[in-house]
Symmetry: C3
Amino acid sequence: MGDPFAGMRTMTADLLVKVRETAPLVHNITNYVVMTSSANILLSAGASPVMAHSRKEVADMAAMAGALVLNIGTLSESWIEAMVLAAGAANQRGIPVILDPVGAGATGFRTRTVMHILRQVDVSVIRGNASEVFSLSDHSVTTRGVDSSLSLSDGIVDSAGAIARQHGCIVAISGERDLITDGDRVLRVANGVPLMTRVTGLGCGLSAVTGAFCAVAGEDLLAATAAAFGFYGLCGQLAFDASDRPGSFYVAFLDALYAAGSAEIDDLLDIRQDGSI
Amino acid sequence: MGDPFAGMRTMTADLLVKVRETAPLVHNITNYVVMTSSANILLSAGASPVMAHSRKEVADMAAMAGALVLNIGTLSESWIEAMVLAAGAANQRGIPVILDPVGAGATGFRTRTVMHILRQVDVSVIRGNASEVFSLSDHSVTTRGVDSSLSLSDGIVDSAGAIARQHGCIVAISGERDLITDGDRVLRVANGVPLMTRVTGLGCGLSAVTGAFCAVAGEDLLAATAAAFGFYGLCGQLAFDASDRPGSFYVAFLDALYAAGSAEIDDLLDIRQDGSI
Amino acid sequence: MGDPFAGMRTMTADLLVKVRETAPLVHNITNYVVMTSSANILLSAGASPVMAHSRKEVADMAAMAGALVLNIGTLSESWIEAMVLAAGAANQRGIPVILDPVGAGATGFRTRTVMHILRQVDVSVIRGNASEVFSLSDHSVTTRGVDSSLSLSDGIVDSAGAIARQHGCIVAISGERDLITDGDRVLRVANGVPLMTRVTGLGCGLSAVTGAFCAVAGEDLLAATAAAFGFYGLCGQLAFDASDRPGSFYVAFLDALYAAGSAEIDDLLDIRQDGSI
């Protein structure tokens, strides 16, 4: 059958072209800190962002979107209800739902909220750092604020796979090397630079771009998620070539999301299959 | 009597000087996504932004402002009440009220909210894209998210004029060419560049700058609105000369709002009268 | 005993190294306009920001932080309760609390809120401009929006000292020359450039950085506050060397917060003791 991932470069370039040609509407119910940057990141990459959180309109908005992105960064209770309503509408229409469990594990409120959402609706992709994602399992890890306190070792592949199978979704863990699994296949992405952690909202922005790629992907959301991670990370590498300081790095990163294409993907994309679990 | 619009270059330069000299306070009740950029856009242009949305203070704040800007981008119900309270206080003192109907037409909630505000208070200027503005009339158009799905053809001048007369306000429609009318006179502005749609909040920022220009304008808010559109658009052109990528374009745009003056206005401003309706 | 402030350059450089080495968690309950910039400013300087405002988690979050920053810029009532809850948790554990009374004096709601917070909890540092700070005393001054309408004259040192003694905290007033006092000692900081007032959130960002420096300072919060002011201001001077326009100035400012170190502190830091009150 051949390796289905030999073609990741082509697939990533194709999905990027589709995003830019169709400008999928990505509905974000996200935290206050990153609303602006998520919108700008989506616009730079070619997608159309919309933010709406009122219970009076989220179902309408989600129903017309290509993807729904839920992010629990600055939570309050009415927003949780809105997330569940919006995701319910997305589920009914088969629209992919991305969940970013920002700070899960740091407070009981955040961890319980994520578990509540996962019980109420179907999520397509959970994207977070290792300590956030593992707060959703029985592993006892402590999250410090919203930064990851776990590095991504090989030993956690099994745990990520177990969470993916439990919730019937893709688990995508950002770290020095990213891990993406549906509980069966495992992909690793080796793009990105550490300076991305010194700009607020770049993790959340990746969740949004994952939504944009999933919106145009059809069936294979595992590959679409990896493509989003790879493209996003290589734009970070391009930006780092322009500047190694966070203010000008972020500007260059938005420029790269807008301008990078198949040539940069051919040069830099680093996505590998790890074998099945 | 001569053409009252031959002097638009002088008037625009004069209003800009007034904004910079008097730094009018612009009270924004606006959406989360664009609060930062609206504040920075106003500061760069020379005005003084303030954001306040609590029902406990909006009337006090609006009463001391030079203009009030209402923007329904990320609505929830308590904010609607605050908008009506603030606009009532502004109306009592003759302070101009700018309404930006972000995403009107996209959901019934947004359309109903705009109609509710227009029934409760007097609005001086409605600024939006074509599909947002026409959701306020009987024309059946569909807004996709918060982007415009209508291009601005000559055929819509009559409709814009009808909305302006119905609500006793100026209607200002952003597009490839902008249309500004009070239901009698019609102005067209041909400044701006398409890349402005790839940075979030630049339309909302224009509503804010329109507020700043109206704050210092005296009686002729039609000309002040056109002046704001023209100046804002030519700053986009100056920024595009500096960069054709959205991250660095936005930085250059803020720089242009701060630095551009009468020389750039003389070179680039393109505002024309269209004859009366 | 010698002058305890001859060593401010060394102390500032040492505190900066500590911030970068330990990345203290700074919990912000702040206004919507500056959440993104406060997060980026903290990240650039080396700290770890977290934003959380729900009554269901603020006490948990504050208890694990190195400092808590309260900012009343875009208030609503549930946020005030959250601020008091969070500060109560911080007080119990001896975590420094920074209060930024944005726009106090502009509306009765804001002034009353600040007084309410000061009655309910212990604040370590009040940081604002002169008209905000003096709205907390019996001086009758009028705040225009959120900008300072008072310049910082010598005559106000006594008033600042009285407020500091009344609330048992440090009062830090930003202006052309900054004034920092605990009611006994008085420090003046002469760093910074006027263009910093043309970028939204730079005052609020200074409150956040003051939190980061206090988090690693141990006992002497007066010196830590002055060190934060001096370092922050000199980064503004470095940024102004790069650009005199606000868009690119802000980018350069973030870069400076990240890159500046003991060499720049030795060159530029200007903190002087004024003698006791």
